[in-house]
């Protein structure tokens, strides 16, 4: 595996914006816009896993899909190995998709019920012309099945004959069929039972080690994200509010939203009655996000300034350089001169 700190950047996202128009009226004109992703930038290094967390509707799935251009972003740039993929022609993009794959949340809905596992796995191999003969193709399919822990005799079966965990294995095998380098995992374990969840998480980690994969791991379960991620980004209403190495983020969360998220996780120990930060209200609508810091209506630490100024993502003092938070009060709270010297 490559050294994460010095590793090369595989994917860079710069100022990515995705707005969805809401049309209405007799003339079907645009009456409002949903700002699903607003001005998001980050890098993913080769061989790492970037976790992306946030509540439903915060734009994490839209972001994941925009990167692969499954949804066309409104503005911004996505660089894959230094190449801006936003302006690529359809055919070029298709060729590049061999390197960038996605695994979806719902293993029930993302497999064609009328195709056998063999057919499902053959499709990407055929499209990208990765096998010269039928025999070679079969060999590849057996290898894939073996890689994700499916029995060889099961490839003639249809998706409905498998359990949820097995189906997710088929989805993973399909993504791996074209030998990708980068995989967007969009809530791959959320629909699974706890014991099966652990099996799939382990499988994803094993595959990463074996094949040198890079993941963008989208989930709302913070425990799973911490377990699998090298770095974690927290999203709120279309923006990244905090990003850091996974241990740093969980150890020293700077943004009040991250703090609230972390304190809301139920801990499986009955002797602990911890004091939690209970957020008031729901996530505001991304159609009309509040002015200033989007989080201020629910934030306990909000001041008048928060209502006007949108805080930028800035480095947090005292922690490694990669820890950034978008809160006016993040820096001051933890910074000390000593730690700057250390950093």
């Amino acid at each position: 595996m490559t050294d994460i700190n010095n590793g090369e950047v595989l994917l860079s996202v710069r100022n990515l914006i995705k707005r969805f128009p809401i049309k209405g009226g007799i003339l079907n004109r645009e009456v409002a816009t949903v700002r699903a992703v607003s001005d998001v930038s980050f890098d993913i290094k080769k061989g790492e896993t970037l976790g992306l967390v946030g509540e439903s509707g915060c734009g994490k799935s839209t972001l994941g899909r925009s990167i692969l251009r499954l949804i066309e972003p409104t503005a911004g740039e996505v660089f894959y190995r230094g190449q801006n993929i936003i302006n690529l022609e359809h055919e070029e993009m298709r060729r590049l998709r061999r390197k960038m794959q996605i695994i979806f949340q719902d293993p029930y809905a993302s497999l064609n019920p009328r195709m056998t596992v063999e057919q499902i796995l053959s499709e990407p191999i055929e499209i990208h012309g990765l096998a010269k003969s039928t025999e070679e193709k079969r060999k590849r399919i057996f290898k894939l099945a073996d890689l994700v822990g499916l029995r060889k005799d099961s490839i003639q079966r249809y998706p409905h004959e498998f359990s949820g965990g097995q189906r997710q294995r088929i989805c993973i095998a399909r993504a791996l069929a074209v030998e990708p380098e980068f995989i967007v995992c969009d809530e791959p374990v959320s629909a699974l039972d706890v014991s099966i969840q652990a099996q799939i998480v382990n499988l994803l980690q094993d595959l990463q080690k074996e094949l040198g994969l890079t993941y963008l791991f989208i989930a709302h379960d913070l425990k799973v994200v911490e377990h699998i991620s090298t770095r974690v980004a927290v999203m709120y209403l279309g923006k990244i509010v905090e990003i850091a190495e996974s241990e740093v983020l969980y150890e020293n969360p700077q943004h009040p939203y991250t703090q609230a998220l972390l304190s809301a996780i139920p801990i499986p120990d009955p002797t602990l009655k911890k004091k939690r930060i209970i957020l008031k209200g729901d996530v505001p609508s991304p159609i009309n996000p509040p002015n200033g810091c989007h989080f201020h209506p629910r934030c306990q630490k909000a001041t008048d300034q928060c209502k006007v100024v949108w805080p930028k993502l800035e480095g947090v003092k005292g922690d490694s350089l990669v820890h950034e938070a978008a809160c006016l009060y993040a820096d001051k709270r933890h910074g000390s001169d000593e730690s700057i010297l250390k950093g």
């Binding site: 509540e55 382990n202 377990h227 911890k274 729901d282």
Partner: protein, 332 residues
């Protein structure tokens, strides 16, 4: 001290399928105490939801049928009640919150309509009083400006709000027993924290008993007093929450506890695991159960004796109101 309010004895619920009859709930017994919360834990298909629907007598018949056992509420067996008598209990004395707030509300009626319907049915109040009561309930569950919100349709509310409406509805007749079937599974963590806090607060205030069905062991640890772990229709371990989390004795319970990732900053002080422990394999089909212990094929401690006869539930440590029992022949 501990007053029994609901007693389920040897409950057996079966479904007639094309390929045969399956017992989704097989010989399940437990007690629910006043002011206490019982957690029922297990993975999909273990029979936890069927257990709760059986108590409410909401099993669709056919294909389902409560084929044995007793459900004793206030000294009487609910299974002997006529449908009309049962309707008086349901929603009034025993209430239920369903898993999906998105689909359990009727989209063509305002939430007020739906709330008032429940109140009118069970309480002798004038329509004006009913509306006032409904507004009061919405306020109780923390919905802002309830007097205007009451005329909203379900689609105008967010998931968390809808779940609150469901809770308001379930609580509107001051039930003695509340069954909450995965009340927070479809919700985000921050909203989950709000709802759990609310349930706990209301329980303290009203003193009702609660059955909480979930697969999230974190939630169980925070909310429940007693725990029952189910696997393939059977109770495999039961005990107080402290016992179950401190001394899990059934290999399945242990597996469940070990397969959740721990936070590195977890105050329990457990070291972060590099690799998650898993329970190999999948839940067996109820149509094709192995002879002997139902967990044998996934169990790392399995012995020959496990494959010959199914173990009985046995007490391994007696407790004040609930013994710690397991359905396993081994002491691990």
């Amino acid at each position: 001290m501990n007053e029994k309010i609901l007693e389920v004895k040897n409950l057996e619920t079966s479904f007639k399928l094309e390929d045969g009859v399956v017992k989704a709930v097989d010989d399940v017994s437990f007690n629910v105490y006043k002011g206490k919360t019982l957690g029922i834990v297990g993975e999909s298909g273990c029979g936890k939801s069927v257990t709760s629907l059986s108590i409410m007598r909401l099993i669709p018949n056919p294909p389902g049928k409560i084929s044995g056992g007793q459900i004793i509420y206030n000294g009487k067996n609910l299974l002997d009640y006529s449908p009309a008598e049962m309707r008086k209990i349901r929603g009034n004395e025993i209430s239920m919150i369903f898993q999906e707030p998105m689909t359990s509300l009727n989209p063509v009626f305002t939430i007020g309509n739906q709330l008032i319907e429940a109140i009118e049915l069970h309480q002798k109040l004038s329509s004006k009083e009913c509306r006032e009561k409904a507004i009061e309930m919405l306020k109780l569950v923390g919905i802002p400006s309830p007097a205007t919100r009451i005329d909203d349709y379900p689609h105008q509310l967010s998931g968390g709000m809808r779940q609150r409406v469901m809770i308001a509805m379930a609580l509107s007749c001051n039930p003695h027993v509340l069954i909450a079937d995965e009340p927070t599974t479809a919700l985000d963590v921050t909203i989950q924290a709000q709802i759990l806090e609310l349930l706990r607060e209301l329980q303290d205030r009203v003193g009702m008993a609660m059955i909480l069905i979930t697969h999230d062991l974190g939630v169980v640890a925070e909310v429940c007093d007693d725990v029952m772990v189910m696997y393939a229709g059977r109770v495999v371990e039961t005990g107080t929450v402290e016992e179950i989390f401190k001394n899990p004795k059934h290999p399945y319970t242990r597996g469940l506890l070990n397969s959740i990732p721990t936070l590195s900053k977890d105050p329990t002080g457990k070291a972060k695991k590099k690799r998650l422990e898993t329970i190999p394999g999948i839940v067996p089909s109820l149509l094709d159960l192995p002879k002997g212990c139902r967990f044998q094929d996934r169990c790392t401690f399995v012995k020959d004796a496990c494959r010959t006869s199914e173990p009985e539930l046995r007490v391994i440590k007696s407790g004040e109101h609930l013994d710690h029992s397991i359905r396993c022949i081994q002491d691990i």
